[in-house]
């Protein structure tokens, strides 16, 4: 495994996530997690439901903050960043692909894909609409650009979601059970796309799944159970 720290993209150091359930009982969703993910890696996080893998993904994706421990991105500690700065990183650094697709129903396919660009504060090196159309062409969905998400099949919706995740040229794709809600044929197509992103475009991919076949696409699998890496 590559271990030169300059290539380390993500580092979690003694990360804990706990919830106070009652006044006294404290539930640990993550216990003392240490992970290092290299740039360009294709890695999967595997575990049964309730194991804490989603929480882990949320912390890596900067959607959630650990209760204790440190998170580094490109060797920069992010736990003490302002909310706006963290939003900016989510916008520019990470692309999310969710099990539920999470497209916005009242926006068209094209608008959904462009949406992250609207939230970007810096001037873009590309024209968002052109880029979105190019991605739609690549994913074979060009004629659906003005459709609304509810007119699309699950597989198509997930491909739109992937296009949305790619619009900002992210360095990291976080995919949470990306095939969990679609039929197996579409699932294979989606996984082919994700494979290509890693192989051809050298985008770092972290795949969260409980499915061993899906996890096999990754070169490395981090197994998690009861909030601990095993």
């Amino acid at each position: 495994m590559i271990s030169s720290s300059s290539d380390t993209m993500i580092k979690l150091q003694n990360v804990n996530k706990s919830y106070r359930l009652d006044n006294e009982i404290i539930f640990y969703a993550l216990k003392n997690i240490n992970i290092r993910i290299e740039a360009g890696e294709f890695c999967s996080i595997m575990g049964p439901s309730g194991s804490g893998k989603s929480t882990l993904m949320h912390i890596i994706g900067l959607l959630d903050k650990p209760s204790s421990g440190k998170v580094f991105l490109d060797n920069q500690e992010i736990s003490n960043l302002e909310d706006d700065e963290i939003s900016r990183l989510r916008n520019e650094f990470t692309g999310f692909v969710f099990q539920q697709f999470n497209l916005i129903p009242k926006l068209t396919v094209l608008e959904n894909i462009i949406l992250p660009a609207f939230y970007c504060r810096k001037s873009l090196s590309f024209e968002p609409k052109e880029k979105a159309l190019e991605l739609l062409r690549r994913f074979g969905l060009e004629e659906k650009k003005n459709s609304y998400p509810n007119k699309l099949s699950g597989g198509q919706q997930q491909r739109v979601a992937i296009a949305r995740a790619l619009i900002m040229n992210p360095r990291l794709i976080l995919a949470d059970e990306p095939t969990g809600n679609i039929d197996s044929r579409s699932g294979r197509e989606v996984m082919k796309l994700i494979d290509d992103l890693n192989h051809k475009e050298k985008i770092t991919v972290i795949l969260v799944t409980h499915d061993l076949d899906i996890a096999k696409h990754a070169k490395r699998t981090i197994k998690i159970k009861d909030g601990q890496i095993i």
Binding site: S87, R90, N91, N102, Y119
Partner: protein
């Protein structure tokens, strides 16, 4: 930076999906703006009406009135002011004051008068020929009475157009006709053009008749006048002339027994009363705007909780708290602005019909105020729900179904 066009589009899409809810929410603002605009339009109309009445008197005219007139209330002042106090000596004194162009003593006689068509209880104003210029009467047919009529104490009458119509069936028909006032027969020598109005603080001259004050002594054996109108050379002399008159009259009368009234002064007093009156009414109507605002706040809270998941998704895509805030604020402003716009439009239609009977009108200030107030309400009452949306935790929000 977040694109305003797409925020608008999303807001409108949300509205059209919940048409009834949107309409009912806007209704509060609609009614509030409608009420405020109507009241402002009525207030403006009333003010314009009054100032038109006063303006017809010109800004270089002064009235001497018996008793003390406090602030405003129009010409009538108190009931006692209709009884005669002044006499010819006063008129002569006024004539000698510098920069006085003309004076017109006034007495009133109310009596039954017999015309060719009808009999009517009428008011006759006896004055000098100067009253024509002072009041700005224009002769429609015939002529106004002159100095000769005054010296000859001629039994001539000039009629207002309305009363001429009532008694004789028209201006032309009235000329040369005899009219009996009590036992005295007068000849109608002229009819003036309509001055319009009447009511608030002014005489309805169209329903008056006018005669020489010397002839009027028949009904006024004491030769007392209840009012003297004085015309100065120009507006700039008014205050000096007022002061001179005061000094002169204090020699003869107590301070409580006469007032010197300037129509423009009266007008501003009347205006300030109406302004306060109008302000109170508008403030009451504005309460309904606040209620409308609370309605918007309520529905925006519902919208925020309906769209919690959407907020989570947007945050995951990199939306900052301020982006979420602006989005919901835009929607609440849109909601109240639309309500305000519809209220204004409705008020416009209503004022169009009202203006046939009453001089109500909507000015640009009213339009600007109503639209900016409704936007302001959208912001004020939208800010709390919007802040709630902005402060949702991304993960919690995305989990929300």
């Amino acid at each position: 930076m977040i694109n305003l066009a797409i925020v608008f589009k999303e807001g409108l899409a949300d509205f059209s999906r919940n048409k009834l809810r949107t309409f009912l929410t806007s209704l509060g603002i609609l009614i509030g703006v409608f009420a405020v605009v109507i009241l402002m339009a009525l207030g403006l109309g009333l003010k314009k009406y009054i100032s038109d009445q006063f303006e017809s008197l010109g800004n270089n005219t002064i009235f001497l009135v018996p008793g003390r007139i406090l602030s405003g209330g129009g010409f009538s002042g108190s009931a006692s002011s209709f009884t005669g106090t002044f006499d010819n000596k006063d008129v002569d004194k006024l004539k000698r004051i510098d920069n006085v162009v003309s004076t017109a003593p006034l007495t009133l006689k109310s009596a039954n008068a017999q015309g060719t068509i009808d009999e009517e209880f009428i008011d006759v104003m006896f004055s000098s020929e100067a009253i024509q210029d002072l009041m700005g009467f224009e002769v429609d047919v015939g002529r106004f009475f002159d100095k000769t009529d005054l010296t000859k104490r001629a039994k001539v009458i000039v009629s207002g157009p309305k009363i001429a119509e009532k008694l004789f069936g028209g201006n032309q028909e009235a000329i040369g006709k005899k009219i009996r006032i009590e036992d005295v027969r007068f000849t109608i020598i002229g009819v003036i053009k309509s001055k319009g109005g009447g009511g608030f603080g002014g005489f309805d001259y169209d329903n008056y008749m006018f005669g020489p004050y010397t002839t009027g002594y028949i009904f006024n054996p004491e030769k007392k006048f209840f009012r003297i109108a004085v015309k100065t050379k120009g507006e700039q002399y008014v205050s000096q002339v007022k002061e001179d008159i005061k000094q002169e009259f204090l020699k003869r009368y107590d301070e409580e027994n006469f007032s010197i009234v300037e129509p423009t002064e009266l007008m501003s007093a009347v205006n300030s009363i109406f302004n306060i009156f109008n302000l109170v009414l508008v403030a009451i109507a504005a309460v309904s705007l606040v209620v409308g605002g609370i309605g918007i706040m309520n529905i925006m809270y519902v919208t925020v909780s309906d769209r919690t998941k959407e907020v989570g998704i947007r945050r995951a895509l990199g939306a900052q708290k301020s982006d979420i805030m602006y989005q919901f604020l835009t929607e609440s402003v849109l909601l109240s602005f639309v309500g305000g716009f519809l209220g204004l439009a409705l008020a416009y239609v209503a004022v169009f019909f009202i203006s046939r009977y009453f001089p109500a009108y909507i000015d640009l200030v009213t339009v600007a105020i109503s639209l900016s107030v409704s936007s302001f309400i959208g912001i004020t009452f939208g800010v709390f729900p919007a802040r709630k949306a902005a402060n949702l935790e991304p993960v919690e929000a995305m989990r929300y179904e």
